[in-house]
Amino acid sequence: MASIELDTPEVGQAAARSSAAPSLLYDLVTTVDHKKIGLMYIAMALVFLVIGGCEALLMRWQLLFPRYDFIGPDAFNQLFTMHGTTMVFFMGMPTLIGIGNFMVPLAIGARDMAFPRLNAFGFWVSLLGGLLVYFSYATGGAPAIGWFAYAPLTERTFARSAATDFWALGLTVSGTGTLAGAVNFIATILGMRAPGMTLRKVPFFAWTMLWTSVLILFAIPPLTAALVMLLFDRNLGAHFFDTQNGGSALLWQHMFWFFGHPEVYILILPAFGMVSEVIPVFSRKVLFGYEFMAAATAAIAFISLGVWAHHMFAVGMSRTADLFFVVSSLLVSIPTGIKFFNWLATMYGGRISFASPMLFAFGFLSMFLIGGLTGIMLAAAPFDFQLTDSYFVIGHFHWVLIGGTLFGTFAGLYYWYPKVTGRMLSERLGRWHFWLLYVGFFLTFGPMHVSGFLGMPRRIYTYDVDRGWDFWNQLTTVGALLQAPSYAIFIYNVVVSLWKGRPAGNDPWDAWTLEWTTTSPPPSYNFEQIPVVHSRRPLWDIKHPDDPDWKYE
């Protein structure tokens, strides 16, 4: 195998270490470097992960026993509102945008994002949005409206405190940051690729970030509009959603889900991208059916803009409207299936090694499938009449967001950590992390499907003894307690490996995309010379000059 040390490996590290603490802070608040901004996004996401996770644990403790008096209804209703809002807006999206920020320019051979200052603006505004939402606690309590905040419960008549205003304002502000990020990704991926990297040759993660950004561009503005209308209702006497004065409750639901469903794909497409990078490298095979995978990504993005009302089957739409959303929702399963089969075909016939990134990619494959299948059940409208707003739905979307997005994201984080820090993560801790999370996740969200079948609605702070739900809720709580240490192990591993990790070198996984040609960590300018590429796997071409990829693409 050809050695590809294109730069001296220790230069970047030494530079990073030499900065003293005060100048580090100054550096972070003024930086426009895509890598530092990416890391700040991820740090922000980790903080909110811990907060959102603690909120979840408090809720699970309250549901441990029927008619338990651990926390009352008000606190519980605030907790699920904040848990959902936090995990979607301040954990999920910042993680993915952060990883994208760090990796996309490196993967496409660029020196930074297209608009570095807009990039910094996007991060700080997202953070400000998160702080504003949490500032609601200063009004005496967080909003108790649920993360999808159905009107007219959000009107001042029913939600009197200013908490709801902080929530709406915070999401408006952070939405601006998200939009800034999306515009930047689109400009970067379309305009700043290395010479020779046509759109048909972009690394798959960059391709999925492109489509996630397109979805953000379509999905966030309707949410922002709805939030501004809500703020008008609450503060300026408008009546958009004020049903007592001719407003429409359904209008909010349509606007929210027109954002809310694409949002799910905003959160899953980058995870698709990450496992599409990890699976080939750890199976030692090229990604099977790249063009079909790419087309399937675009198809998912298009179709996902037309499925929103499958969250609203029970609101009494016409049967024809129901049927439209049944068909569009089921159609998503076709491109998703294509992706799945291509991942399997990539593994098939390979030489699979289960280093921690691949372990999490395996977790993704084995679990995301189940989330997809329960999604088919929910898309079958009459079945959904029973399942919607029950615990089954909670089981389903956590299966997709943890089994899919989170496992996929962990695959990416374990894969790229050596590039970002120059150090390897501990494999042993990685395994502990994986198995605790895998088992704990199964135990938390599996029983939720059953409590849903047994008639347990979501968002209830307590339930009667005679419902027969206690056993399933106790399993769920035990699962949550099992999951909690897995996150602690991960954070410990990430922090301690910064000093104790084995030096990684430029290319520890023997991988094929451009980020692995530069040093770990990469210098501020990323590449001394902008590389020229001829195929989807530029490093394969260098390592196998006798059998380069471009002959087959």
């Binding site: 209703n77 108790a144 009494g316 399997l344 079958a380 009459p382 079945f383």
Partner: protein
């Protein structure tokens, strides 16, 4: 705090059945049939895909050791891609057909009431955090019955269909009517009346609860549907149609309680038909004691609970919209005496 009352309300250790897989009404049955088919298809896909995944992991893991050369690179295959696009497309097509059939069976519009139709029409109005039932017509007869939280309906026994047609409305925020064994959910949305229907030939108690988050006490907006034999239902209906009883003994504690009730602010929110109490914000109390539970199904309806409710409703149902009025214990005792006569 409230746990002892709950035990009293539900009887010791009797686990109720709310499973969507034990339907007792045609919509719930159609949904179960569909769900079993969807589950079977999902299980089929699950076994195949997980099977291939686990086979690949077992077969190709660490093959040839770390020093082995790279395995053959396979870039894709148009034929295979078309095959695994077509197979899910076929499954989707079949699912759409089955879903359409079930959707049309479950979600049919309610017919107009007419004489001799044996059908019951009820308007359900969701309130934060209780249910109001306005009985419109039964078998074509106009009814003027208003009750709360416990819905009585006739069973379709003796080979006669007695469907129940609901019109769903909301007085405040969104709610959702869900009794799993009788059918799926239909939301109650302010300004957007909805319809649903069910019928069952199995008398008994069917439990459910509000399924759309509606504020502080969403968890305790419980639903009780009592399916009676038709004769029992007629008797219940006849009793409910009467105005409230007037205490017989003019000097008894019940009369004193009635006087207290009507001089306090109770009447601003509660209605007692046949009297001057015409409030609309709280449950109709005309036949309060014909209901077995208080606080929308939370606790058994008896003297102790009524008393506690009047002393401090917030201690039973924190956040509920009825305040504690700070009445004298004697006044409360008398009002309870009076309420206990409302049968």
């Amino acid at each position: 705090m409230t746990s002892e009352f709950i035990l009293l309300a539900s009887g010791p250790d009797a686990v109720q059945n709310l499973s969507i897989f034990d339907p007792a009404s045609p919509p719930a049955e159609s949904i179960r049939a569909l769900s079993l088919l969807v589950a079977a298809i999902s299980a089929f896909i699950f076994i195949i895909v997980e099977g291939v995944l686990f086979y690949s992991v077992a077969r190709f893991r660490g093959r040839g050791g770390p020093q082995a050369s790279e395995p053959p690179q396979v870039y894709g295959s148009k034929a295979i891609e078309i095959a695994w696009t077509a197979a899910p497309a076929l499954i989707v097509f079949i699912l759409v057909l089955v879903v359409t059939r079930t959707l049309w069976a479950v979600n049919r519009p309610n017919p107009q009431p007419k004489a001799g139709d044996q059908a019951l029409y009820v308007t359900v109005i969701g309130h934060q955090w209780w249910w109001e039932y306005v009985y419109e017509t039964y078998d074509g007869r106009k009814l003027g019955v208003v009750t709360a939280n416990e819905m009585h309906v006739p069973a379709s026994t003796g080979g006669v269909s007695r469907p129940v047609y609901l019109t769903l409305k909301s007085a405040d925020v969104c709610h959702s009517f869900w009794v799993p064994r009788l059918g799926g959910k239909t939301d109650l949305i302010p300004g957007h009346p909805n319809e649903m229907w069910f019928q069952t030939d199995k008398p008994g108690l069917y439990l459910g609860q509000c399924a759309e988050y509606c504020g502080t006490q969403h968890a305790n907006m419980l639903l009780r549907v009592i399916v009676d034999e038709p004769a029992d239902f007629e008797r219940w209906l006849e009793n409910e149609s009467k105005p409230a009883v007037v205490p017989a003994d003019d000097d008894g504690p019940e009369s004193a309680g009635q006087a207290t009730f009507f001089t306090q602010s109770c009447v601003n929110c509660h209605r007692i038909r046949g009297m001057s109490a015409n409030g609309k914000f709280g449950p109709d109390l005309t036949h309060l004691m014909a209901r077995r539970t208080l606080a929308s199904g939370m606790v058994a309806s008896n003297r102790d609970h009524l008393r506690q409710w009047l002393v401090d409703p917030q201690s039973v149902k924190p956040g509920c919209l009825m305040p504690a009025f700070g009445l004298q214990p004697r006044e409360i005792d008398r009002i309870v005496d009076y309420l206990l006569t409302l049968n």
